[in-house]
Amino acid sequence: MPINIDKEIEGSFQIIGGNFVNAGEASTQLKLLLTKLGVDEDIIRRTAIATFEAEMNVIIYAAAGRMHYHITPRGISIKVDDMGPGIEDIELAMQEGYSTAPDWVREMGWGAGMGLPNMKKNSDIFKIDSVVGEGTTIEMVINFPQQ
């Protein structure tokens, strides 16, 4: 299906920490937008999973955050930054199974230590930057298949 993008599209969503009821709303909106644009299903799926995990991390750990997206004919760039506690050891946090989530988060079905690995797995470029006490920024790029 031809991708219906003739100009660049940008936008952003606010994410409120602790708001489990609306958790996933930002990613769902972005998914709808990509569907409307006729983006390849596998690309939509990868984007949706990567952004949903990032959104959940903001909801679980941070006071608030923002998801910014930038769609071009080449692909999708996502930037998620939060006002959260930051990550002390990024290398450790990237390890599958490692999590600092408290028990109540695990009882809600999160904090399995798979979020960051899932984001990395589903994006073509994955960057994470964090300052303890200030927050975390995640940048992901998902390329469209090139004909």
Partner: protein, 113 residues
Amino acid sequence: MKLSDFAGELSLEVKTCKEGLEREITGVYVSDLLSDVMANSRAGDIWITLQTHLNIVAVAGMKNLAGIIIVGGRKLPEDTRQKAEAEKIPIMTTPLPAFEAAGRMYRKLKEQG
């Protein structure tokens, strides 16, 4: 039936307490929620889960579970392994997802009557 009877079918890798494989299986419980396991599992059950967190050992100990099978090929953290070894809780891993690990155990237990 014993856990060792499932070793091949589930491609089990024994991580702690090898002798636990020879225990008779009386039941199986599948869950990733510790509170659920605390509330609903029965003594002697094998617990199938994706959780690898240290607390699984305490739950298995308190509920007298026969052992834990960690699914999805997840790596067992060293602190969990050491605690399980010390408390004699058998832990095994399988590359299968929970649905299939449970399914294969269920089918085999049913077929044995």
